[in-house]
Structure formats: C-alpha cells, structure tokens
Symmetry: C2
C-alpha cells in the first residue's frame, strides 16, 4: 500500500492537513459484509410471499402470432400470470403509443408483443407458491412463433439484404444514416483528416473485433415486490439506482412515481449492469394480480441471456504521424451492437473516448449503433472505453514501432494537456495525462527490465470522462452529537458510503465514527442518479459537503442564541464553536448538539444538486506476461496500474477499485466472450463455460495513485472506479506483441486466437 | 355529519375558499387498514428471528437479594438471557451514575436491580427459538426476594410511617415538600383565596377519588430488534414516537443515537400509552447477545400490569361564589399516583388544567406526585384533564344548584376569555369557551327536553392546552409531478398522515392524490416528537406547509430559468406558474416538475421546526342517561360533543376523533378501573375483567365542530384529539345527579357505587 503521489500537494491544499481524508478507516459495512449479515434482495422474506418466474423466447428472431396463458392460469397453485397486456390497460394502449412513441420499444423489450428479438426475450411471467410450480406453469403457456432468420453480426446487420429487427425504424429527415438496423449514427470532425494524412509519413490502419462480455456480478438479478395497496408498491431491488428502477416501473405500468417505494438492498456486484429495472415490473404486476408479495431471482443462465451485457463491436482505426513522431491525423469507424433494443448510444460514447489521450490536429470519428438479435447492450464499467482504447492504443504502439520511437516517448510527444481540444470538441480542463505517464515511467515495474523467452511488456493509456448527475444528501444531528447521513446513492460494494461519510466528517470536523451513513429509499430521500460513471464519491460527496456546511451554519446560529450574540461572530473549527467577541466562550459540537431541540427545533438539512466540475481521469496500465508457445495461453506475470485519482478519500478503497477493475480488464483481454450459435443461442451461459479470471489468473495488482486535484470538487475528487478497466486489454495485446512479435486484433485473446496468430492452427 | 360551524368564517379566511381543506377524502391508509394489509409490528418476520419473553416481579415491593440466571442460560435452545447487568458494562456503571444520577431510576425501572417496585417489574429477559421455550426458561431464573409491605394508596403514601419506595429520594433544598414518597410538588397561587372565600356567599368543598385506568389499545405492545452489526441496530416498534424510542434505547444501553434505526409500523392504538420504549431495549440486548433478530410481544396481562396506565388520584376542590353567581375563590389539592417511578409530573399537568374554563379571581392549586407500588403512570389522551375536570365541574354544578342558577348561565357568567389570566399565570389568547358553550346551547340535543323517571341530563366543559414540540417534514417532487411527503410523525390511527398531506396539497395547489405521505424512520427524517398532545396536525402540518412554500419557491426559480427571466417575477397559484412579464407564459406544476432534473438538479426540501402559536381547545359534553334503580347500571341515551376545533382539515376524521374520545370518556366514567388486591396484584388483567365500553354501551356520538381559528396556524388548526375525552365523566356524574338527586365523587361510577350512593348497599 504505497502512499499517493501528491502533485503539487502543498500548493493545492494550501497547507491544510486533512484529518479524515486520506486515512484508511474500516469501511462502514465491513463487519456486516464479512459476517454475512448484510441484507441482499434474496434475503428479503415477507409473510405470504410467493415466487415468480419468466417465460423467455427460445428464438433469437421470431414473429409472435399468439400467446395463450389459459392453461397456465388454470393450473392449481398458480396465483398470477402476466404478459405485455398487463403493462397497460388495453384501452390506454393506443393513446400511450401516440403520446410516447419511444415507449412502445421500451415496453416491447420488457414483454414481447408482436416479435421476439433475442433468445431470452421475456414473453410472460407466472407467480406461484413454489418456484418449481411457477416453472411448470411456464411450460403450459402456448406461444405461436413464426421463426425468422436472426441477425447476429453487426456488419451483416448493415447489409442491404439483412433481415430487419424493427420494421418501424424507418429513415428520418435530419438523422442521416439512421434506419433499418441502424439505431443511431454519430460523426465528429476536427480539422481536415485528408490533409493530415497527406502530411503523415507513416500511416497505420487496422480493424478490430471485440466480443460481447458480461459484467459477471456474483449476485443474480433479484427483486421483491409487495403491492400493499392501490397506492403503495414496495420494491426491494438489487440495483445501482433505486430511482432508475422507480422511473422504469412508473413508466411501464404506468403508475405515479410517488406510489412506488424502491428500497435499496446491498447489491452483490453490478458494474453498470444493474442500472435499470429487470424483474421489478414483472414482480410488481404479479403482486398486484395475486395480492401477495412476489420474489423473483434470475438463474445464472437468465443473467447471461436476458440482462444487458457489454456491447460487442467492430472498429477500424487509421492514424498517421510525421517522422518526428507528431500525429497528423486519425480516423475511426465504430460499429457497436446495441442488441435487440436501443439504450444509451454506444457510438456516441465511443466517439467521446476515441483517441482521448492524444492531441489530434485532424480527426474524424464515425459511429453506428446497430440492432442485432442479441440481448440489449448495457453499461459495464467505463462502457466502450476498453474497446476503443484497445483499438487506438494498438495503433499508437504500431505507429511508434514503425517510427522507431519508444512508445512512451511517442505518447509524451502527442499527449493531450489542459487546453487541448478533442475531436468531439471538448477542451480539456486540468488533466493528468502527462503526470500519469511520467508516474508510470518512474515505477519500479517500468524501471525493472523484463527478461526471458515468450515474455513481453506492454503499456497502454486510457481516459474516462466520469460523470456528475444529480445527488441528494441529508444530514441530521442527534442530541448526543452523532449524525445521521442519508443519501440516495447505492453502495455497490465500492465503499461509497464510507467515502461520503469521510467527506462529511472532514467538513463537520467530527470523528468518522460519529457519522452513520445510510442509503434511503426513493420516498425518503431526494432524487439521486445511479451509482455509475464513477460519479458517487464526487457528486454525492459534494452533496454531503454542502449539507455539512448548512448544518454547521445552523449550529452556529444555535451557539449564537445560547450566547445571546450575533451568529456572524460565531466561528467553527476543530470541532469547537468559538466567538471573537469572547474568547472564554467555547462549545463543542456535542455541546451544541445537545441543545438543538431546545433552541428552536431539530436540525435536519438536505442538499439536492447536480454539481458542475466533474474531473475526468487518466489510467495507465503496465503489464508483463508470458505466452506458452505450445498452448497459446497467456500468463500475467506482473501488472501495475497508475491512475490520476484527483484525491484519494480512502486510499485503500481506491486501490481496491483499481485492483478489481484491472482484473476485469484482464478478463476482457484474455478469456471472456459471449459465444452464440448460428441461431443466436448463447452457448456459454454458466460461470463454468463463460471464463472469468480467477485468483490464479491475476497476480497482485500494483497500484500507483497520482493526485492531480480536480478543481471542481472541494477536496479534488475525481471518479476512480472506471478508468483502470480501460487500458488493460490494449496493454496485454502490446505485451503479446513484445513476447511473440505478432499483433492480435480481436478480443479476447484466447489461447486459440494466439495460436492461430502464431500460425499454429492453420 | 353536520358541517362545521364556522365562527366569523369570511373574516378569518379573507374570502379564500379552500380546495382540499374541509373536504372528506378517503384516508391515505383506508384501503390498507380495511383489507388487513397494513403492517403492524407483529407482522414483521425476519429470517432466523427468535422470540423474547420477560420475567416480571410477582411482588409489588421487594428487595432483591440476588438474581441467578445460570440455570436458564444452560437450558438447550435458550439463546440469550439479560438482566440489569447488560444495560451497561459493569465498569461504566459507577461512572454513569455519577454523571447522570437521574438515569439510575430510569435504568432500574427498566430492569430491577436492588428492589422490585411493582407487580410486573421486569427482572430479566430470555430469548429462545420458540415463545414457550423462553417461558420455560423464565421459570429457571432464581430470584431471591425479601418481600416488603407495599404502598398502594396515595394518601397512605404520604403518611409518616408509610414504607418508602425510593430510599434515595431525600428532601432537597429548594424543593419544598419533596422527599420520601413525594416525587414532586407544585403550588400555583393567584390573588388571595382566603379573602375570596370570605367574599363568597356559597361555598362547596368536595373530595374526589379517581381510579387508575388503561389506554386499552387493541394491539399489545410489541417490538422487533435486529442488531445487524456493531453499528446498526434496527428496531421495529409499536410506538407513537420512533424518536422517543430511539432516545430511550440510546440512553439505556447506551449506544450512539445514530447507530439506532427505529422503523415505524402502524400502531394498533396507543392513546398516549406508547410514547416510550417498552420491549425495545430488551429485544435489542437479546439480539446483540444472540446475534439473531428478536421479536417480543406482550400478553394482555403484561400490557395491563407493566405498561403505563393513566394515573389514579385524590382531589379536594373548594369553590366559593356570590349570590350573583360570580366565583370569588377556588382551591384544589391534588395527589396523583406516579406509580413506582417518576415520569412526567401529573401534579404539574393537573395544576395547569384545574379550573381552566373559568375566570377565577383568587385561587390556589397544590399538587403532589407520589410514589406507590404500582406500574409507572403514563399519558392517556389529555392526561390528568378528565380527572381534574370531573372534580371542578361537579363542584361548579353543585355551586350553581346551591345558587339556584342554571348551570350554563353560571358558567357563562364566569367563563374565561381572551385575556383571562389562569391561576398558573397563563393569559389566554383567543379562546373559544364562550363560543363552544353557546354552540352547545344551540344544539338540537340541548333544545330537546329529556323526560322519564331515573333519567338525567348533564353538561360539562373542559379545556386542553394542546402541544407543539418539534416536527420535520420533507417534500420531494418527482418527474411526473407526484410528490413524496415524509414526516417523522406516526399516524396512530388518527389519520394524521392524511391531515398533513391535505395541508401540503392545499399549499401546493395540487390534488391530494398527487401527494404520497409516508412516515420516515429515525435515520431518514429529522427529529420529530411523539404523536401526542394533539400536536401532529398542528405542528407537523406547519412543517409540511413550510416545506411546501420552499418547494414552490424553488420551482418558481426553475420556471424562471426555463423562461430566462428573474424568479421574483414568477407567481404560482391554482397549480400554474405565471409571470407578469409575459401573460402567454404558463407552466403547470407537472410541466415544471418534468424539467426539474434538467434545470439544476432534484428538488427535495426539508422543514424542521418547533412552531409557536399552539392553540388550546375547548370541549363541551352533553349527555342524557337513564339509571336502572334495581341494578345501578347507567345507560347512555344520547351524547353530543361540541368542540372548538380551530379548523377541521378533514371534518370526517375530526368527528371520528371526537366519537372515539367520548367513548373512552364514558369508559372512565362508568366502568374502567384497575382493581388491586392488598398485596398490589392487579385482579382484572384481561379485557373480560377490565370493562371497557363496547358498541352496546355507547350510542352514536353526535358532534358539533366549532371553528374558532387558531391564529398560530396558517389554516387555524387546533389539536382535536384530546379535548373531547375531558368532560364526559363530569357530564355523566352531573346527569346521574339529575336522574337520582344524588352526587357521586368517585370514578368509575359503577353499578355498585351507584347503588351504594342510593343507599341500597348498606
């Protein structure tokens, strides 16, 4: 556990020494989590609770002629059956579609109506007293399918004669390129790429294919619904965002948001994959129909086939540079699978990330989201970034090779800095590319030569913009001086609750142990966006700091009241209220707290905001590996992740984030991939067949925390969870090149693909 | 359902017509309550939950030589046993007693240490998998008692040779009269009573005895504790105040308040009797020791013997008046049983209430709280008020009889008005004694003569100050325009949540159905005092109104942002935002709500306050009855309750409050009373033997709502729940006098006592 490398530390802190920030206290939930007492959604057991199961399409592409649930409904012990017909009353349907056309896709993705668009597409849901009985009932639902040819490859989806998933996706004016299987298209242009390439003395152009992978969280998606009365639907949800779940349920059913109370449980991993409602709407409908609490838990197979995996894609990158090592132009074409339905635009996200670490004078980035008969794509830790970084960093490495330049030297000659304008138009504020690359070069790892046959070292650099969005934090001070802190931010296992409490403790100048952080449900705390985009320690942290400032302001008023002086003369610091007007007057935080109720009523404050000033982050990955020339298997020997974290609130937890992310990056690099048959059926739908790295595949990840404070946060916080997942696949590919002298352009780099690239598989 | 009689309605409302206030919508919890879906504490079922039981003293007064729990602990299946030793670690005990001497009584009342002071006093608690097993284990706890003579009568307690309950209650300087069995003494003096009596031409002096009664809530006291980790104790509690429970648990264990999350359930009745922790501390200790969730539910016998019944008392009242019917002096001596331990001062409360409706020029009120070997006394709907009102209204009636004046005429000649100074020094603000008495005289009931043998009509007038205390309300506006309203106020069945939501709806100018009210737990909402003292619709209502005003202010800012104008030019009314600067600009509440998240972040506001301006309330009870001369049984023929309610937010619910309160007043008048044997053992400890009125005992109560708005509340609200319980016992006694020509001075006026007063029982 190295201490963070503080950049210009004294200057930034102004000589302030933090008491809580930068320390490594035990996480607030450490005891619960390690003793098994933390409550996950699967632990929710309600009286009279029954079990729900979902019937899913066995076909990747099929027209649905009819759905007949009558036999299932007639089965003794079946308490409710629901289909798309239950999402909205029939009489409202036409009207809703007129008012909110986009929702017809949203709704059809939830329960298939006219077409099933992927293997696993929900058709109906059944609730019964026992799970096996619900499963029996599923078999009694008669669905008449007309099977259609599936579209599984994003390039095939673009061909003129490809089957079309959504017949209503017709070309529209003002949206060039969209229509057919193209859901969205983006194009960013800076300067004149053609002129740029004309100036280039070396040009590299490569095509990359990146497979679909899953977030691989341990806890299967789960929900419990209890529709206690017409106006009160309680939902317990394994989610990153109780408010996103509430929104989805409110729109799908539809019912007023205020009638829905989504109660957070501890999510057992999520990584971007639990930011929407999955089982909750079905559980709610089943609960309403049966009058019982309904529990639903996905099997692992359902998790793989019917949640939102990370998008597979095709990327073509072309870059040119002068002999002096200055990049003159770069272009990229990206085709992202959006799956059967459109969610976020992966093309738009990827366009923002492509070439991000470099100052590109002339560039064009073109991206497409295309429909394929696979589950809808979703976010996974720094979505799109590992994919595009794999592409551009491999080309950067090959360019530097062709130029005869050390790749780090080449990077440093082209690195983006404060003021650099990206191809998408963003002008970087203070940004730590240079500092992080330099820190990487100073590591023991970088300085220690690697030797041996079939061994290689790779280095790659990635960027992640991070996110802000809306957060709410409430603080209440108790008689005994303890403080309740409530946010709407789910702690997804990232120790966000501790990081937020530490910021509040620092600001309130009280011990961390005096603050008790809890996550509120959707009814008891203000709107707070998902724990995602590495936003929580930043944005909810600012909400906590803002609330703490208001709490102190009100307590100063109370001290002033007790002293019968003007509150403007009361100061607070080091846990003590003082006044210039009389040095003898001193009241501790606890002393004022004890008199709050008798001096004008309770103090309970809320900060609800959307902060500006999010700080993007840079990550560099340095990896040593060895390839077994007989089997093609890659063993990671050593790995160091260097990251600009802005300010590490809890360095130990930041290191943990980095280590976990790098492990996931190694999984994407070497072994993880969805494998479909030609009918669009997922073949590897268990953890046995879908190969995530285990402890034997990943060495202890070394971490280097670089602290270039983000001026947009009072303590300099940048999001830290996503950036370290970005560069590992590129670094691994470059290391394989050093080991074998060959380049791989496809992820994951499985033993089979390595052997094939080595020419050993014919 | 008569409409309220609005006093000077137009003047007060300033011509405003309310849209929500004064209407009679379905209560927010009506469906849940009537379909059995509302969750009470007994409905909480947690995985691995075990059951706790309490060993109680069989002696009313005994020294405890030793408590040996070893045999119980050794019983297979017993998971935890706790006694007073578990409340504090032994090493802290001496220190705590030094720092907080008053807590030694508080703690000893919770688990007896050196002495057991009433039959039912907790000695130990046991948790086991099954309740019967826990009960078996209780039998294995060996307690060595030295039985002492009990003190059961408050007058006996004051005698010099009486046994003493608390040897440490020694006389202290500055507290005259306190010491021995006297816990507290109060004396209020106004003018010169001796001179006043000298001016009187008629004097009446009477002594009254009022029995102990129970609140008689249907749901037995219950608690579930789940100590999920060192820093997180979850409690589900059948309580009127989650914050009071938290305070008691925090002080008893002791642990920081922030570590305790008390989660409200629907209380199945409370009436003042559930404002403190009962089973929660024991359940918490058992949960900590066993590592399991622990459920505890009292038997009805435990509810009667070991909760906090309404104090029995002895009262002597003397009043004098001139022939012209002007009261010249009044004195009272009140001796209240505080039970085995001291809680609130009943003497102080009673002194505030004595003679309240009348303008007394010279008066003295002396009150004592005395220890007796009975359960600690507690609040019951308008605590002390029915007792003292029974005394003074009977004397008022007898005085008017001796003066030959109509009792209403006598009252009107002496009624207190705005500016009248009470004996305790309070000067009445605007107060509706006159209006309420006049309204009573205008009722059909008053105007209709009563005829027949053994029939009589009584009328009595009572006052209740109501209470304010601290309240918190949060409001959050959702994308779809629905609004979440969260308070810390428990809805004890009084429909407080609807009354608060109605005030918010009125202020926000949106339909009530758009507001969804919920009760927060102690961690997610700011401190809010108990639902008691008829404070909730008043004080939490003001918090809701204050929060609503802030919500509108912030939404005006957002409308201004959307219009790019200054927010000071934006007005809101009738559900629409408008601006003088451009009459074409109009945005509905829903339209602004939909754009809140995109115009600066969520809007979630909190008002935490202690309002001034509580409005006291007047109630008049008019009762017709018939006495069976053979059995002495009294049948209530007709009863009308007339009350100054300030402003009836929901007239139907106010009427319900009045009807329920009058029924309880009739119970106190005629049948309810604790009966002890000479060893202090409660004899009637079931609903079969403790006789509460049933539907056959109480006619449909007629109600008249008088609205003299309270200027301290934006809509004029006065507390309404307690005043109507105050006058019925006095009214019934006066009616019995009219029926039989005899006076009774003891409550309840059972058939036996009626017969005895009639001379029929020798």
């Amino acid at each position: 556990m190295s201490e963070p490398i503080n950049q210009k530390d004294d200057e930034e802190k102004g000589g302030v020494h933090y008491k809580v920030i930068g320390s490594r206290p035990l996480a607030q939930d450490a005891v619960d989590k390690s003793t098994g007492r933390a409550a996950y959604t699967g632990d929710i057991k309600l009286p009279r609770m029954i079990q729900g199961k979902i019937l899913r399409s066995p076909h990747a592409h099929a027209r649905i002629r009819s759905i007949d649930t009558s036999r299932a409904e007639a089965l003794t012990g079946v308490l409710a059956v629901v289909t798309w017909r239950d999402l909205w009353p029939a009489k409202d349907l036409a009207n809703q579609e007129r008012v909110k056309p986009r929702y017809s896709h949203f709704r059809d993705s939830y329960f298939a109506r006219h077409k099933a668009l992927y293997c696993g597409h929900p058709i109906a849901a059944v609730a019964a007293a026992e799970p096996w009985l619900a499963e029996e009932a599923l078999k009694l639902i008669d669905v008449d399918y007309e099977v259609l040819p599936p579209v599984l490859d994003p390039l095939r989806a673009l061909e003129k004669d490809s089957p079309i998933l959504h017949e209503d996706n017709i070309p529209k004016e003002g949206r060039p390129g969209v229509g057919g299987n193209v859901a969205f298209r983006v194009e960013n242009l800076k300067g004149d790429p053609e002129t740029g390439f004309a100036q280039a003395e070396v040009i590299v152009e490569r095509e990359f294919r990146i497979g679909t992978i899953h977030q691989g969280y341990i806890e299967p998606t789960a929900a419990v619904a209890d529709w206690t009365s017409e106006r009160q639907l309680k939902l317990w949800s394994s989610t990153q965002s109780v408010f996103f779940v509430r929104r989805d349920v409110a729109e799908l059913l539809p019912i007023p948001m205020a009638h829905i109370q989504v109660i957070p449980t501890e999510p057992g991993g999520s990584f971007g994959g639990k930011s929407a409602a999955f089982l909750e709407p079905a559980a709610a409908l089943l609960s309403r129909k049966s009058g019982r609490p309904v529990r639903m838990v996905m099997s692992r197979e359902e998790v793989f086939t019917a949640t939102v995996p990370s998008t597979g894609c095709f990327i073509r990158v072309k870059m040119g540079a002068t002999r002096l090592g200055r990049i003159t132009a770069a272009t990229a074409t990206m085709i992202f699978e959006t799956g059967a339905y459109r969610g976020l635009s992966w093309a738009a996200g990827g366009a923002r990330l492509m070439f991000a670490p470099y100052d590109i004078p002339n560039g064009r980035i073109e991206g497409y989201d295309v429909f394929v008969n696979k589950p809808k794509s979703g976010s996974f830790r720094a979505p799109n970034a590992p994919q595009v970084t794999f592409a551009y960093e491999n080309v950067i490495d090959e360019l530097s090779e062709k130029l005869g330049l050390d790749p780090m030297e080449f990077r440093l000659r082209n690195v983006a800095r404060q003021g650099t304008r990206k191809i998408d138009g963003l002008v970087y504020p203070r940004i730590g590319f240079m500092e992080t690359l330099q820190a990487a070069m100073k590591t023991d790892h970088y300085q220690t030569p690697l030797q041996g046959p079939c061994r290689g070292r790779g280095i790659a650099c990635g960027w992640w913009p991070n996110n802000a969005l809306q957060s709410t934090c409430s603080l209440g001070v108790n008689d005994d001086g303890s403080v309740n802190l409530i946010t709407g931010s789910i702690d997804v296992g990232s120790n966000a609750r501790t990081a937020i409490a530490m910021q509040a403790a620092e600001r309130l100048s009280i011990p961390l142990a005096e603050i008790h952080p809890l996550t509120g449900d959707t009814s008891s705390i203000g709107y707070t966006a998902t724990t995602g985009g590495s936003r929580t320690t930043f944005a909810t942290g600012i909400a906590a700091i803002t609330a703490a400032d208001e709490l102190i302001r009100r307590m100063r008023e109370r001290a002033a009241l007790l002293w019968n002086i003007d509150s403007s003369t009361v100061a607070y610091g080091e846990g003590t209220f003082t006044t210039d007007s009389d040095p003898a007057k001193r009241l501790t935080f606890k002393e004022v707290a004890a008199q709050v109720l008798s001096t004008g009523g309770p103090i309970f404050v809320t900060a609800s905001l959307e902060p500006k000033g999010v700080g993007s982050a840079v990550s560099v990955c340095l990896v040593d590996l060895e390839v077994d020339p007989e089997t093609g298997k890659v063993a990671i020997l050593r790995c160091t992740s260097i990251q600009d974290v802005g300010r590490a609130i809890h360095p130990g937890h930041v290191e943990g984030q980095i280590q976990g992310a790098v492990a996931q990056g190694i999984g994407r690099a070497l072994s993880e991939e969805y494998q479909f048959d030609d009918q669009g059926r997922l073949l590897n739908r268990s953890f046995l067949d879908y190969r995530m790295p285990t402890a034997t595949d990943v060495p202890l990840i070394e971490t280097v925390l670089v602290e270039v404070p983000n001026p947009g946060h009072p303590y300099g916080v940048r999001g830290v969870a996503e950036p370290p997942v970005v560069p590992p696949p590129a670094a691994v590919a470059i290391a394989i090149n050093r080991a074998l002298g060959i380049r791989l352009f496809e992820l994951p780099m499985t033993p089979e693909r390595v052997l094939r690239a080595m020419g050993k598989l014919g």
